[in-house]
Symmetry: none
């Protein structure tokens, strides 16, 4: 079943809040075999809202709207739908009683304009709102000889979500053609978007599903979507696709689902009961910040040191004066000594370190902005590498360096081989 | 001038990411006297994209699109626009050279499908993309006897934003009706949104401008917008509004413009030639990360320590065993010792420290999740405070704690008084 989404309200076009409702609805529709095919955003203007619904019903049999059901003069969804369907607004008694009750429960007087929220297009079915005053509604409308439907929900995400789950999705599932959709996300790091595209070329035979890509810096994700008559069949097909994707992407596939590298590293450290110390120069705390976004990280993250100044690198991490003088602070030699230094200082199993030139200043001919070195130390070895990331923004260099360091930890943790490779 | 926005890509309708581009574009359009009148979201499907543009041009003279300009097979914006305007795609040589150069700079081979990004609808003007491979374009099209325009930008927010600012807005401003808009943003911290609303009530006399609020966690911003025939008149009116806003908001107004607290703190430290050490427990590196987002921060940030474990607090920062035992790690006493400890370890003028329970685990009856303590130490004094932030998400507690610590530094730096207040 095809569904078009209508997002109503000046705020959609005002830059004040990002519209999160649309994505949530689209995602939930898949589970009941429906598909969001288009989005129509309209300001608080009756004609514009009516036009958005009209277009939505050109694209799909069901138009689901959010917003414009409040009590104020600029809430115009019911009026627009009444205009579109050619019926008057009528007082819906049960809704009025529910609104009155809600105000009684809150111990607040109901203002006269809340009465407006119980005026629904004549002949429509109310969709109860258990957590707010604005009821939603569903009404049928004929378009091009087909029975179509308008489903209107409030814009407050928590109210919308509950009404979607409790009323709209069951209704849609019942009316569906029995086709189910399911999808799986592959989170990758180490391949460009085009290389990922090439690696996964032909993964899904034509007509058997869809493959989409998304660059969510610093990771790149691929999503496969398949459809069919039963959930178990879909799961089996997704499992097969996942096996093949794993084979093709190898270690560049770091997680199934929308997961950060810090979560994967955290799980691996927990699993192997290893602890970590982090020494950051150019990343300035970002690695520690990312690792500590994960609940329970205190069990493996022993210590982080942001050693921006050379003195800190020497005094605290034991980087040698001679190494700094000979190779400079941004060198694989210093990265190695920082990694080993923080490992010892933290009393941890592993030490990871970054040093580099995030820019915009500080670059030289030998070491332009974007030159970064990463070091990793463990009980009987050390690894390091120098990268030229290019002179993009300071934030980009920091973000990419932190991701490379976390990815290095991950690869070390999953592959014995890496421990002795460069 | 009326502008319709076209948001392209499966992700718009997939729930993977909230579309933030639309709001940003709509907001920026106001500044050049243009207005976003509708939004059209289409998946990665050529016919659906073409239909979205067609509808956009029914609503407005200019359709601005984001997304679908990447190198992969599911990037179909240029093909859809070529179909709509009835012209073939043609290789745009300067764009191809720019893409080749970009890959050369990165030291990576260009894959064959990146060539596709230089294929633009014949006769269109390229919009240069200084920070990515996908060029944008602008092309004219006649609709209902009017000259209309399609402007296509990539979907990556940072790339889109720069191209919007540097190419699209100046072009729109030139084509406008001569009315100029200007706005100024007041970034605040310390007041709730409703308190800010009350503080600024009546700031702008009716009909003379607009006042809008935006909660951009962890700061809250107010934006005043005025319009008129000349820029110099607008500047003078904004200056007067700013003077009055400063008077009303006092120290809660921390910056004019969309600036982070870390930039303000950095400027104050530079100005006063003071250096800083940071000891983070519950913020896990976020303060260091934020401070080092600012170019030149190496001149005042001497050292950061992420002391998650009690051992690190003791061994490295000199927090006393007895204090930990008596008051617990989350206490103003420990926060003070951490601040003084990192100040001495860093050899810095100031030390700032955080310790708290970010959750979801770790809370007790006495110290529920969201209990955080902040300490600040200087050569002859120390300050600390305990906050109950509530058990929201881990990320929220970290973010708010980092902001409170940076704000404390700011207030200390601007107000002698604060040094001896609690």
């Amino acid at each position: 079943m095809r569904v078009a989404i209508v997002a109503i309200g000046d705020e959609i076009l005002a830059g004040l809040t990002a519209d999160t409702n649309t994505g949530i609805i689209a995602e939930k529709l898949r589970a009941v075999g429906a598909e969001a095919v288009s989005l129509h955003g309209a300001p608080d203007d009756e004609a514009a809202i009516a036009l958005a619904f009209e277009r939505a019903l050109e694209d799909a049999e069901v138009a689901v709207s959010t917003g414009g059901l409040g009590p104020t003069a600029d809430d115009l969804t019911t009026a627009a739908v009444a205009r579109l369907t050619g019926v008057p607004l009528a007082l819906h008694e049960p809704s009025l009683r529910a609104i009155e009750e809600r105000f009684r429960d809150l111990g607040r007087p109901m203002s006269e304009n809340n009465r407006k929220q119980a005026m629904l297009p004549e002949g429509s079915e109310e969709i109860a709102n258990p957590t707010g005053t604005a009821p939603g509604f569903r009404c049928g409308v004929q378009r091009r000889g087909r029975q179509c439907w308008i489903v209107s929900l409030p814009g407050v995400p928590s109210e919308m979500l509950r009404m979607l789950d409790e009323s709209v999705l069951p209704w849609l599932a019942e009316r569906g053609d029995g086709v189910r959709f399911a999808s799986r996300v592959f989170s990758t790091f180490g391949l460009t978007e085009s290389a990922l595209d090439e690696s996964l070329a032909g993964l899904i035979p034509p007509g058997e599903g869809r493959l989409a890509f998304r660059a969510a810096f610093p990771r790149i994700q691929a999503r496969v979507t398949v459809s069919g008559p039963t959930d178990s069949d879909l799961d089996a097909r997704l499992d097969a696709l996942e096996r093949e994707a794993r084979r093709r992407l190898a270690d560049n596939l770091y997680a199934i689902g929308d997961m950060g590298m810090e979560e994967v590293v955290g799980s691996l450290l927990t699993e192997r009961q290893l602890t970590l110390g982090v020494a950051e120069s150019c990343t300035g705390g970002l690695i520690g910040h990312r690792l500590t976004e994960v609940a329970g990280s205190s069990s493996y993250l022993r210590l982080g040191v942001v050693a921006y100044a050379n003195e800190s690198k020497r005094a605290l991490l034991g980087v040698q004066e001679a190494t700094l003088a000979q190779h400079g602070a941004v060198s694989i030699q210093v990265a190695e000594q920082m990694a080993e230094g923080v490992r010892l200082l933290a009393g941890a199993d592993l030490g990871i370190a970054t040093t580099g030139i995030a820019g915009p200043g500080g670059g030289t001919e030998d070491k332009p902005v974007g030159t970064v070195c990463i070091g990793l130390a463990w009980s009987d070895g050390v690894w390091s590498r120098r990268y030229q990331l290019g002179a993009r923004s300071r934030g980009w260099v920091k973000g990419m360096t932190a991701q490379l360091a976390l990815d290095r930890l991950r690869r070390w943790l999953i592959r014995e081989d890496d421990r002795h490779q460069t």
